[in-house]
Structure formats: C-alpha cells, structure tokens
Symmetry: C2
Amino acid sequence: MSLRHALLGLLAHGPASGYDLTRAFEGGIGQYAWQAGHSRIYPELGKMTEAGLVVVDEAGPRGRKTYTLTDDGRTELRRWMLHWPEQATVRNETVLRMFLVQSLEPDDARALLEGMAEHCARERDALRAVMDADDAEHRPGDPLPFGRLAGEYGIRQYEAVQGWAQWSLERLAAGEPVR
Amino acid sequence: MSLRHALLGLLAHGPASGYDLTRAFEGGIGQYAWQAGHSRIYPELGKMTEAGLVVVDEAGPRGRKTYTLTDDGRTELRRWMLHWPEQATVRNETVLRMFLVQSLEPDDARALLEGMAEHCARERDALRAVMDADDAEHRPGDPLPFGRLAGEYGIRQYEAVQGWAQWSLERLAAGEPVR
DNA sequence: CCTTTACCTGTCAATCTGGACATGTCAATA
DNA sequence: TATTGACATGTCCAGATTGACAGGTAAAGG
C-alpha cells in the first residue's frame, strides 16, 4: 500500500498530474526508494480519488488532470509518516547480491566486490555533480531533480556500500572466513 | 525473478528444505534484502525443479524434501550475481519515508528524524551484540543467523541512516531550506 | 500416554506489479 | 503543411506476492 503514500507525499508539495508523478518516479525516488510506472499510478490515483484523499481539477490541455491533496489525504500521509511498522517492506536486488557474495568462488567474489566498489564511487561522484549543479543554477520555485536531503542520503548510501565492499575485499584478501 | 536467485544463493552453501529456506527469509536477508513467505517459496522451488536448477532428495522425516543445487543452478546463480542490470529493483519503505520528510511540517519532520536516528542507534547496537555473540559461541558447521559480511553491511547501513538523520536535523535546526 | 510444540508441505483467493498495447493532443521545427 | 517529439491518459494480461486456510508428522516433556 506504499505506492499510495508515495503519491500522497509527492502531492504534498503541490498539485500534479499523473504524468508529472510518473516522471517523479523516474528520478531519485524510483532509484533509491520505490518504483512505479504510469500503468500503476493512474489506477491508484483513481482509487485515491474515490477514497477522498485527493481531488481532481479537471482542467488543462491534452486532457490533463491535476490532482490536489485533500485534508484527509494530508492526515493519512502524516499518520503513515509518523508511525512506522516493526517490519518495513524491503526489496533490494543490490543488497540481495551483497548477502549472497558468500555463495561465489573467491575469485568471483573478488570481482563482484571490486565492481561494486567502483560502481558506487562513480555513482557517488555523479550524484555529487548533479547536486552541485542544482545548487548553482537553481532558481527558487522550479522543481529539483533531487531534494537536498534525498541527495545527501544517496551519497551516504553509496559511500556505505563502497566502504563495505572494500572492507569485505580486505577480509577476503586476508584469507579470513567470508561466511 | 529475484526470489529465484535468492533461493539459488541460499542453496549454494548446502542443501535445504522449503522450511529451512522460509526461516532463512525471517533472518537478515528478509530484513535487509528480500522478503518471501513459504507460500511463495514452495511453488517457486517447484518451478526451479522443473527448470532443472535444483533437484529433490525425496527423503527425511515428516515429508521433508531437501533441495540441492544442480550445475545449471550454480551457473545461473553465478550469471545473475556477476552481471547486474542498470536499474536494480528497489523497494524500501524506510527510504521512502526519508524521501518524503520534506512533506511534513518542521515539527513533525524533527520528530520523525529523531525517531529514525534513535531507532538506528538501537538496532545497530543490537546487531553488533548478536554478531559478537555469534563470534563467541559459534562452532564450525552450524548455521549463522547472520553471515559476517551481511552483518557488517547491516551495521554500516544503520550508521549511514543515523548519520543522515542527524545531518538533516542540523540543517533543519539551522533553518536552511529542507527541499 | 497425552499434549504441546516445533516441524513440514501445500493450495487458494485477492491484490499488486510490470510491460505491452492503445489512443489522442499540442508545440515546434523542417 | 507535414512530421516529429513531448505531453497525457488509460486498459489488459501474465506473473508475482501476501495472508488465510488446510492438513499431517516427529520429538520432547509432563
């Protein structure tokens, strides 16, 4: 049910269409937090309208429908944000590979870990560059591809994984048990 | 299709039953990487048997079926581990909340971030304790609730999120724009 | 011996998801 | 004026996923 809350959260800082929201999921949120395509977003917006969490301003060119958060929607978003469950939904292919490194032969494990460390270093630098560019040319009012907080999280995330991969490589090199 | 690879990976270090695998998902892998219940695991093991990735040793008390990786299974696991796609599947409720902090009123945001920082500190300590206990009383041969590498990742993950939350709180306190 | 507690395997219905299919509009440029 | 590309909304289906339902076995303790 988190797609609903992702949409509520995105709508919290201003009205948007299904199309706008779809593009939002192509950015940071879809890369780090939650993925969704338009084929799931449109039906969900329909259900949310029925549930009274959002309303449609039926206006705009090309049949564009703009959705706005209702008070109920904002309340529900706040409720969800503030009480997190014991066991949160997690599904991450990269972390899954990290957990299964032990299933590889040492040479393969080394290759995988080295690849991961390099990949993280590259992505980290790229993200940093995007954020610095934003800082420079950003005019108040226009939307950021990355929120500041989200970007900072991304950077720390890459650094954590890179650090972990390097630590693991050292363990491997030292011949210590990987299990 | 990652459930399949998770199962292949878990089977890589020795034969196991559907029941064993179900319990494995209740541990670290289910908390940090990928979730699955027995109702999904049993059918998938069936399909994997059909596909020749695993074989069943139909033996054991209480109708227990033990699955063993075939050469094809090991090859497929290696292939999947070593070539990762551009865009990996990601779904993480906690990170989603992190991305949506900006949608809250400052007071609520502060409460959320403080809660997250505390939670991470607690979980980190608990995880460290579990790992130290394992180191102490672990006898070669019996399974670890946490692999060393996985545990280390968990700790670094908690530290990264905690650090991020604290950094965000400082920004918030300084009155800097959160967006 | 009896009862409880794991152990152990499955199915089913409802919902969620991702990719493909389908349709049409507006703006810019060649 | 024709065409392309971005804007914009939707449906459909196969497969994934979850939680509930269902049933049976061995071991251990009282």
